[in-house]
Symmetry: C2
Subunit: 395 residues, 2 copies
Amino acid sequence: MYLYSERIYTPQGYKKGYLQIEEGKIKGIHENIDDLYVDYSGKVIVPGFIDIHIHGWATGSFWYEGTVKSLENMSKELVKVGVTSYLATTGTDGLDKINNQLKEGKKAIENYTPEKGADILGFHLEGPFINKEYKGMQKEEYCINPSIDILEGFFESGGKENIKLIALAPELEGSLEFIKYANKRGIQISIGHSAAEFEEIRDLKDYGLGGVVHTYSGMRGFHHRRLGVVGAVMYFDDLYAEFAKQTGMTVKPEAFAIMYKIKGPEKIILTSDSTGLAHVQEPFHHYIRRCTFTPDGDYLKLNYDDGREERIYKYDYDKVKDLELSYMDSIKNIVTNVDASIGDIVKMTAENPAKYIHVYDKKGSIEADKDADFLVIDGLWNINDVYVKGVKQEI
Amino acid sequence: MYLYSERIYTPQGYKKGYLQIEEGKIKGIHENIDDLYVDYSGKVIVPGFIDIHIHGWATGSFWYEGTVKSLENMSKELVKVGVTSYLATTGTDGLDKINNQLKEGKKAIENYTPEKGADILGFHLEGPFINKEYKGMQKEEYCINPSIDILEGFFESGGKENIKLIALAPELEGSLEFIKYANKRGIQISIGHSAAEFEEIRDLKDYGLGGVVHTYSGMRGFHHRRLGVVGAVMYFDDLYAEFAKQTGMTVKPEAFAIMYKIKGPEKIILTSDSTGLAHVQEPFHHYIRRCTFTPDGDYLKLNYDDGREERIYKYDYDKVKDLELSYMDSIKNIVTNVDASIGDIVKMTAENPAKYIHVYDKKGSIEADKDADFLVIDGLWNINDVYVKGVKQEI
């Protein structure tokens, strides 16, 4: 199969030509062909988004539901907002719950085919090895110190090769041994939900701390005598700054812009950190929407602070998709805030996350022998078509 | 007079040649001459430091003593540490005291000749229009709202043309009118000792806020939802970040390095913010030195926390010069912290401060028709000779 575009974004910049896809892989870009092709003249082809921090979205929530079905729903819907692969992300919960999630996740990974939507690259464990002091939306009673034994249990449940990323608080007891152990096994470690001092990060960093989860959130503010996690990610050029979806609410656009000045597109990773709010398991008050979400079987009840009520079907995409800002809508916000080029966005959404979780050999750029995961867009990030492993998706 | 060097630092980079000085001015750099010259082969010639925030140092304190003599002593000693011109800086005191200081300062400016040492460029008023909440070492009872009437009184005392820079808290009532008034008269305004919100600075900035005094100090820490003064100086490319002497104590070297990444040498101004501690008027406990300084006529008593005692003559340069880190020693710290080139340091110590206070037509670079204020150094910032308006100084 061949696709023609004048602007195919590659690590060497834009190329014009015929993108050849065979058996789900990119074969190359040709100047001339003597065959049929899909004509994407006037469109831009970019690598699909890789969301390495997503608990759930729209009709599925791996975090709240923890089922094979929840991941299938996520995969099916995520392609609609440009995400072609992701890490199924757990939270800080009881070990039984996490182990069950990983078992279900493993099945979903094994059963995955590109016709099902976005590719499941493995797991991101957000905790449970985090600091209570900066737990954010995570549960205090489940925050524990890093433990290699527990990690080995996770290996058994989820498959060792599937655990790609762990967010932890490096100031907790046992971190050094844990980080060394994980690093040796190719698992990336991020700093998250942490009260770490700058000096602690400096001392542990080179054992395998690669970046910071949802930068600015789940950590102290920056102070010029107590730099903390924010100071560390500002200071150390090699640390990646992960940012959850940019709604403009939790992190002011100007605070994002400051970090963008410091790190540049080379060292920022954009994620959604969405949870799949339609699938909450207990009543949840959303302070931005001014509304309480209450589960009700297959339905979600919305009780707005102003007295209005609503009841929606949890698996109706059109009803639930706007409960959380989508990955693509976050990108559109960022393009406005920091005037990022398409190439800059590609770095932050595809190249960097793929490199970070060590899958850049098969994902993250449009190059020969990589998976054919890409988006066909116009210059303003409106999606025309989405391909995962060469399969054109229903969007 | 001609001086030869292979490395004369100019805004166009290094030039090799014979620097011609006539009547205190730079005439030009010549490739060949047929005249006698001072041979500075192997040395570097750079513009002298311009310290726009200095209350006192070593044997003189304009802030504590407020006399013509105090400025004469400062001028005489500052050249030894590379400062060839400065702004005599007042503090937040009663209006009578400030007006008297300005009257004395005006006399010192009128009596100044280059044989006396560093040139007095005018005044920097640090307050009294600052916020009590972030007064730092300033006195709370004298913190007042900006007042054009009071400023006009200062004009009368110190000479309108001599007031070059005012540090104020822009969130205080009356700021907008005051800033407009000062800006119209060519006075630079810095933000300092301020609780201002990011949004307040954004709204007032273009009326004449040019930068931030002793960045990080006298203001809130940075937070991603409440960016404040620190966030404003990080965000707005056109704001200058002034840094007081870098001792590594009040601002951690890494916090300076972060701002250096953001602003670059183009938008940082280095000052000393020294006060002339030998001349304190009442007992003062120095928490870094762990010592209480007590005035005793022409002497200063030092009572160390560990019980030792000392008594030194306040006007003995060798005895008092190390009470506060010198401008040059701060530069040496910075060169280590951020790996700044000589050209980078020249920007932060001469070009930027001269531009900031609007004296770049006569100071801040080695160019024809400017004052012949320069240092002859080796590549490691060791001073060989210092010239002010073409007069070689006793150092």
